[in-house]
Symmetry: C2
Subunit: 593 residues, 2 copies
């Protein structure tokens, strides 16, 4: 994307992930405090204000990331540059978890917004989730719509407008209405014993999910208009400001109406219904919420390929993922992301509350690492103001680090353990892949002074041409084989004596000056007999001899015709590779209709 983005557009493009968490963040705090038998909404403000303060700290820290990394680059790059290998791999693993959970959580929350508005859909949540995941997001991303970023602008502003309208209306009604602003039930709280404290901590940990996606702008600094980092920082402030206002407004209304959890209906839907009734504005809010949440899920699809590419260039992921712009690489990443997100949705039955337990920990882990990396960055640079800047990031790192521990402990059994196993497991995979590439480089190394011809030249070259019956394709293949080989072997695999006799007869009439070898395969197998034949030939030949199997591949006129061919070649290549000095050549043959 060559075009630079004005701030208003960039805000919409980068903030759908962060802003959409208004759709579930406040609810996630309230859910913990509404545990049956306990009325503890009185603690809501404590949990919520802590989240808000944390938001301010993380925002301040990330404006500095934007300042220091005008080239973009997330917590992985920051850690790699400043903290070394292991922290960067922790960050990469955490980001992986983050992307997968962004998809799973956002889709499930979006579906809940939809189902709240249309109760007939109740009980079909998982099915809807999966249709959105595989039927919409995966397909769109596999098709590879490049300019898709601009699609974000309208829904994001529609959502923000709707939220602000809802909040203004609701707060006005609350302040001018006859009842109390906060009903006593919303202020009730029990004594703060250890169990209660644990509950409030859990509520806070859940609320931290409101902060996911905050790092997006700092990853996209190069896309801003000049001066890039100034504009990026201003946009970050706007995003966090909007997020804070919306979270506060919704929290206010949640307490004002004393919203309690109802199955299949989100709290945001209850708030909207109580404020404006079930009219057009209610449906507008639900649809806008659904839309921004699905768009938030989509951001993960844009975020994962660049991360994979960076990891691949450093040797921690398969090398071919490092080739930018290659469709196939992206497809693999997209499918992997969808598959894992789909498994999570099925495993957690589309339950946002349970998925949230996994979500926040990865996010805050990568926050912590990025901030720590920034401290080292400022300390190394020792520019003007480096002390103050290091202090801001150091404070951010400390606080987010503490949050990681709080989440890990308070949500351990609720699912955080999965992430705590996943991250080291991923690191193990990263290291294993790296080791393989290092081993390989060593094996491939050829001392320059030895020269390329320290290896003996090729001896005899056998060429095997499989023949079903003498056709034009066989003729062309034989012509190519004659050009490259010393000895040509035409191989016919026959299912019965009768066909074998007929093919041999035809071959004699045709007289291509090449011997036809017939091999019998009574069970209609094709691949196995060919493999056996090549293996027998391998044992007969000298070490320097080569065998090439030439297989015609059909280039068809219509795309779907390709599905009707070419499988044999693929299988053969996969199986013949185990033999030393056996090459497989595919020869194109163009069908005219």
């Amino acid at each position: 994307m060559g075009e630079r983005l004005p701030k208003w557009k960039a805000l919409a493009i980068f903030s759908s992930d962060a802003l959409s968490s208004v759709g579930y963040g406040p609810e996630q705090i309230a859910l913990v405090l509404a545990v049956s038998g306990l009325v503890a909404y009185g603690y809501y403000p404590y949990a919520f204000l802590t989240v808000l303060i944390l938001l301010a700290i993380v925002t301040a820290s990330y404006t500095q990331v934007a300042r220091a990394n005008p080239g973009g680059g997330g917590s992985y790059s920051v850690a790699r540059k400043n903290l070394g290998e292991y922290p960067s791999l922790v960050a990469a693993a955490a980001l992986f978890a983050d992307y997968v959970l962004t998809v799973a959580v956002s889709i499930c929350a979006g579906t809940q917004a939809l189902v709240s508005a249309f109760p007939t859909l109740q009980g079909r949540e998982v099915s809807i989730d999966l249709v959105v995941l595989f039927g919409i997001l995966t397909l769109i991303n596999l098709r590879g719509v490049r300019e898709s970023a601009h699609v974000f602008v309208l829904p994001t502003y529609l959502f923000v407008l709707g939220m602000l309208g809802l909040i203004i209306t609701g707060v006005y009604q609350a302040l001018t209405g006859p009842g109390p602003v906060f009903p006593p039930a919303s202020l009730a709280r029990q004594e703060l014993d250890w169990m209660m404290l644990a509950l409030v901590l859990r509520a806070f940990a859940n609320g931290c999910s409101s902060m996911t996606g905050l790092e997006a702008i700092s990853n996209g600094v190069p896309m801003f208009k000049q001066p890039e980092h100034v504009n990026a920082i201003k946009t970050t402030y706007w995003m966090s400001g909007l997020l804070a206002v919306m979270l506060t407004g919704i929290s206010f209304l949640l307490l004002h109406y004393h919203v309690m959890p109802i199955a299949h209906v989100t709290m945001l839907s209850q708030i909207a219904e109580q404020t404006v009734g079930r009219g057009w504005f209610y449906y507008y809010i639900q649809m806008a919420t659904m839309l921004i949440l699905f768009l938030a899920a989509n951001t993960a699809y844009n975020g994962l390929p660049p991360l994979l590419s960076l990891l691949a260039q450093d040797g921690y992921m398969p090398r071919y993922l490092g080739m930018r712009g290659e469709r196939l690489s992206f497809s693999n990443g997209i499918l992997l992301l969808s598959l894992v997100a789909g498994l999570l949705i099925i495993g957690f039955n589309g339950d946002v509350e349970h998925l949230i337990s996994l979500y926040a920990i990865g996010v805050f882990l990568s926050f912590t690492i990025a901030q720590s990396g920034m401290v080292v960055h400022w300390w190394r640079q020792k520019n003007r103001n480096w002390g103050r800047r290091a202090l801001v990031n150091g404070f951010g790192a400390t606080i987010t680090g503490i949050v990681v521990v709080v989440i890990a402990v308070s949500k351990f059994f609720a699912g955080a353990w999965i992430v705590l196993i996943f991250i080291p497991a991923m690191m193990f995979v990263f290291k294993k892949i790296k080791k393989h590439y290092l081993d390989m480089a060593e094996q491939l190394h050829l001392p320059l002074e030895e020269g390329p011809y320290s290896i003996k030249p090729v001896g005899k070259h056998y060429v095997v041409v499989p023949v079903a019956s003498p056709t034009r394709v066989v003729a062309e293949t034989m012509r190519y084989a004659k050009k490259i080989g010393d000895e040509i072997i035409a191989l016919h695999i026959a299912t019965d004596k009768e066909t074998a006799r007929r093919v041999e007869e035809k071959w004699r009439q045709w007289n291509p000056e090449v011997n036809l070898v017939t091999v019998y395969s009574p069970y209609r197998l094709v691949i196995q007999p060919l493999l056996h034949f090549v293996e027998k030939l391998t044992r007969r030949k000298q070490p320097e001899d080569y065998i090439t199997v030439v297989i015609p591949e059909f280039e068809t006129r219509k795309w779907w015709h390709r599905l009707l061919h070419n499988q044999t070649g693929l299988v053969l290549r996969t199986l013949l590779i185990f033999n030393k000095n056996v090459a497989v050549t595919t020869l194109p043959f163009h069908l005219q209709k």
Copy 2:
């Protein structure tokens, strides 16, 4: 499977699909008659007895299929031999629909049996369905467990024992108990107006789902002990007899207890609970029902590959599916089956009742075609008793044909329309594939008298070797290239000038007597520049010249290392095929660790 099966074993192996329908068949009749506001269980016996008579007719017809086709072969083969192309394609399409729906319906019904027993799982049905489908059945079948048939024996008999035990206990209690055998509510019925008649017909159409799987034995005649067809026929009688007894018993108890639909609890579970209480025997019945239903789903995985293979041999499906025993072919079929079944489960939200509307029509369509084919068969043979035999099958064909119309009309809007669109669509695909193969055969034809050398020999042979940096692999590749080519071109794709200079320097030192061509690719693309280079070369060369691109493929020590390589070769082959006379050769290189 070389071993012949004794009757008791064959019964278990072939009948899990048919017998398992006891798990949902009676319920499906009752569901229609329990539509809110109407109490119409009084019509249950009418619908049910019609199903039972139909069962007798179809059984008699299929014993004759078993007699006439000692080689096995389902309705597709029968139709192809006796009725011609179009009826056979209708049968094939109907069988496709049948297999997919067997998987979907059986899994959903099995999950319902599980959830009925363990109410904590309520609301998670779709997730469980998908885990069973993709996490268990698909994986097991992809692994390709060959001797899996024997796994069927124990669960099938456990299920039959459980059902008989339940029925005997229940009927004894009903007859000896204080209350009436049938409560008045179960005998109530409204006047039979047109609407009521439509309802009873729908109940009957639903009940026909109890007959799915009845054809299984006639497809497997060659697996019986000698005399095969005699044993097969006896086993068919046993299967149908058992099915009839179980269906009747469960229907009796359903009316006796006046079981009404309850969300998340099957009627069979209600019956079991009322008869024996929620003790071990209740859980035994639920688990046995679940197990046999999942096994029934599995039978479709065994049935589809042979059908695909037959269709492929006749040219209606991709040819490579006709190669028996090739793992890849089976995998494609298995994945396709799972995928479509998964989509149906998601689309219908795991609802057995809605899926049933699609199910019965395909089954009865293939019944009808098989029976019609048999009539032609007897008429052509004109053996002893041919008139009587033709009459039996003719009667069967007529009745099942009427049932097809009844189901199609009474369930049209409930989902039968999907199948009625699917079948012609599949036939269109079959015909299109056949046409492609016929076109191809024509293009490949080479008149024998012309001889193989009517085509000009190959002119100059260019060999392109991509070089990242001079390594041992490049050296081996060059050695092969020298053997086969007239002109070798080493091609380096550089992302920046600096690396390019370094590689060129090394190349010069190395001195392999081959020119190195450097192409710049600033965006880290690899495939595109190579394609462009080859295309440029293609334009320069003579029509008879050939270009071969040689790509090393790594054979790795550990299986997962393969995932780290080889992608470039695959992509190149896919893209280079569009150029005339451009071959792609993969050369194996074995890594030692």
